[in-house]
């Protein structure tokens, strides 16, 4: 059986791109705004200029880091099951991350989300089987900004079972987020052994590592919590205007991140990921739904898989749209991204639910995207040709009578031969559709959102773990001036 696979580059071009990326690490080098990272690089043989904070990394040093970085790892759910495999061509999806707005279906407009929105988000994302991991997608506006990053993780840990894609907004909050994760895992060792979460770490294009991202990288490495590089050249704005040019820049940014990370602790898991985009030369926006954005994601994924024997785990922001409401454009952009990324074998795609240049989350879109994900996963499962004979036996059995519905072969096969959608996808006869209220996809998705929220039940979590999580959150909230955490609507 053939796994359908999309590759844009010849092996020769992949090699040239990798060579150029390594060359960029030396000339012009990378800017590193964090002394500890500069020291790590300098001690290991990079040429470091402390005043300009430019590190020139020799190829041999970066290659060694790539060598020690693992080709694959798992993320585990609350029950300790390895449900996400970062490696090979396995594909998974998690919701897009860190929306500062939520599309309010009833109000027909977007607004700043609050705790109750994040709770609804967890309910829906937990209940959608197509979505493999949760993400800290909702930035709650009802808590101080300085605690907004860890507060999202706190809510997800309270209410969720799935693995989590997350990240910090500051250096200091990593320790709080680690403390929360350790509380659920039982110990720091247990967390490192079976990581529940991966942390996004974003270099600034071109070739710049801020203090936050360096600190996060080093903290991830030392705690054994997987890091996910999110390199994001914008084609023609903060990176070369060509797909291949920005893919080279992406590779250089990833290679420098891996070098810092592996110097902090060799063997720690790290993901070759990103959120690059085309650049709309008319408006100055960064369209996540542009074809070149998706092609760049697939291109750098191919490079990440070729960077060493066995490749590195990969990630991309795909399955997103730039619309402000859920409409036909939302569907076309999200489906194109999810399908292309699945064909390229991106291990983790962050995107479902996300609109408006990664800034606005829609639960309705998440529910629609889950259907897209179902179809994309079906697509890459390929055409099963394992039966022998392929058709002779069933054709002869049914004969000219022609009713395959009666055949055991049909009953045995149909569930896995096509993805069976929920009622979000309209496949009704016309009159039935009309009788059901003549709903468009947005209305059907909203109905589904309400159903999932009602059907959700929180996973079992020991009472003392809940108490401890609440205590940690309360303590850190009080430290930034919030006396009481916002009221929760889900009993724990």
């Amino acid at each position: 059986m053939i796994r359908p696979k999309l590759e844009f580059l010849s092996p020769e071009t992949v090699r040239r791109a990798i060579d150029e990326a390594y060359e960029l690490l030396w000339d012009p080098g990378v800017r590193v705004h964090y002394d500890e990272a500069l020291r790590l690089l300098g001690d290991a043989g990079a040429t470091v200029d402390m005043s300009s904070r430019v590190a020139r990394i020799p190829r041999s040093l970066a290659e060694k880091a790539v060598e020690t970085a693992p080709s694959s790892f798992y993320l585990y759910n609350l029950d300790g099951e390895p449900v996400v495999h970062y490696g090979g061509d396995d594909v998974h999806f998690d919701p897009g991350s860190a929306a500062i707005e939520i599309a309010d279906y009833e109000a027909r407009q977007s607004r700043v989300p609050v705790t109750a929105d994040c709770e609804d988000f967890v309910r829906v994302a937990e209940m959608l089987p197509q979505i493999d991991a949760l993400a800290t997608s909702i930035v709650c506006g009802d808590v101080p900004q300085s605690m907004a990053d860890w507060y999202r993780l706190y809510l997800l840990l309270l209410y969720g079972r799935k693995p989590i894609v997350t990240g910090t907004f500051a250096i200091e909050t990593f320790a709080i987020m680690h403390e929360l994760l350790v509380t659920v895992a039982g110990s720091a060792e247990a967390l490192a052994e079976k990581p529940r979460a991966v942390f996004d770490v974003c270099p600034s294009p071109p070739l710049l590592w801020s203090d936050i991202t360096c600190a996060n990288l080093i903290d991830c490495a030392r705690t054994g919590v997987p890091a996910e590089l999110v390199s994001m050249p914008l084609m023609g704005a903060t990176g070369p205007a060509t797909v291949i040019g920005s893919a080279v820049q992406h590779a250089a940014e990833c290679l420098s991140g891996i070098t810092i990370h592996q110097l902090a602790k060799p063997g720690s898991p790290i993901v070759w990921g990103g959120s690059p985009a085309s650049f709309d030369m008319r408006t100055g926006t960064t369209p996540m739904g542009a074809m070149a954005t998706m092609m760049l994601d697939c291109t750098y994924t191919q490079i990440g898989k070729a960077i060493k024997p066995g490749g590195l785990p990969t990630h991309a922001y795909l399955g997103m749209s730039d619309t402000k409401i859920v409409d036909a454009q939302t569907g076309l952009e999200s489906a194109a991204g999810a399908i292309l990324g699945a064909l390229a074998g991106v291990n983790m795609m962050s995107g479902p639910g996300m609109m408006d240049f990664e800034s606005c989350f829609s639960l309705e879109k998440l529910v629609i995207d889950a259907e897209i994900v179902g179809m994309a996963k079906r697509l890459v499962a390929g055409v099963d040709d394992s039966e022998e004979p392929l058709a002779l036996h069933v054709m002869r059995e049914v004969g000219h009578a022609g009713n395959f519905l009666k055949s055991k072969h049909t009953r045995r096969s149909f569930r896995k031969e096509d993805y069976i959608p929920s009622e979000v996808i309209d496949r009704d006869f016309r009159q039935t559709w009309f009788d059901k209220g003549a709903l468009d996809i947005n209305a059907r998705a909203h109905r589904k959102v309400r159903e999932l929220i009602a059907a959700y039940e929180p996973p079992p979590l020991a009472a003392e773990v809940v108490r401890e999580l609440v205590a940690i959150a309360t303590r850190h909230a009080q430290a930034v001036g919030l006396d009481r955490l916002p009221a929760r609507t889900i009993e724990r």
Binding site: I100, T283, G284
Partner: protein, 215 residues
């Protein structure tokens, strides 16, 4: 002869050729062409065409930026001569611009700077990660009409308020208008921190800056 030169000047801006624009500016000075005429009839005329082509969708941001760069290159040659002759070109306003403290994002602010320059503003770009004190000092030194503050992150956006407070403390708040922008910034935020103007994109920023200057 001079008309032909003006045409080539305009064309150098339309083509976004900075070296060509500077060479033509030098040629004009050698030929004794009035620098103010060279600016108005040559280069600015080209910039107007660039603006029209952008408006009708034929030109895009890179065309606009490179046109602005060509304009800048020409002005760098012509302005000393202009000053020496005791003349001054018309400037819509002086803008001190930068990305606020803790924020290293360059592109949005640079785009706004280019668009403002291209539209007749004198722009002093202070770069990224700029402290409130630097904004105040530069606003004073450059006699700024407008201080423009960029922030890409919700965390750094808070420093926009910081700069406004510093300007007030320095007694400058009545004299300078403050514009804010950046991905997380909204009109509501601008109102909340007492900024005078907000725009969502670079073209909008030009319109706001013109309005603030009473144009």
């Amino acid at each position: 002869m001079t008309e032909e030169l003006f045409k080539r000047m305009a064309q150098s801006v339309i083509d976004g050729e900075a070296e060509e624009a500077a060479a033509l500016a030098r040629q004009a000075l050698e030929l004794g062409v009035d620098p103010l005429e060279a600016i108005n009839k040559g280069f600015t005329a080209g910039m107007d065409v660039v603006g029209e082509l952008y408006s009708c969708g034929e030109y895009f941001l890179p065309d606009l930026i490179l046109g602005g760069e060509a304009m800048k290159a020409a002005l760098a040659v012509l302005e000393p001569a202009l000053k020496a002759s005791g003349q001054a070109r018309e400037v819509l306003g002086r803008v001190v611009l930068g990305t606020v403290k803790g924020d290293i994002h360059e592109i949005g602010k640079s785009l706004v700077g280019s668009m403002l320059s291209a539209n007749g503003f004198e722009v002093y770009d202070l770069g990224i990660d700029v402290a409130a004190e630097t904004f105040v000092a530069q606003a004073q030194e450059r006699k700024a009409d407008i201080v423009a503050l960029s922030a890409l992150l919700t965390t750094t956006m808070l420093y926009q308020r910081d700069v406004i407070e510093h300007l007030a403390e320095a007694g400058l708040r009545d004299r300078v208008k403050v514009m804010v922008g950046g991905s997380p910034v909204t009109q509501a935020w601008a109102d909340q921190i007492g900024a005078d103007g907000f725009a969502e994109d670079a073209a909008g920023a030009v319109a706001v800056a013109k309005r603030l200057m009473g144009r």
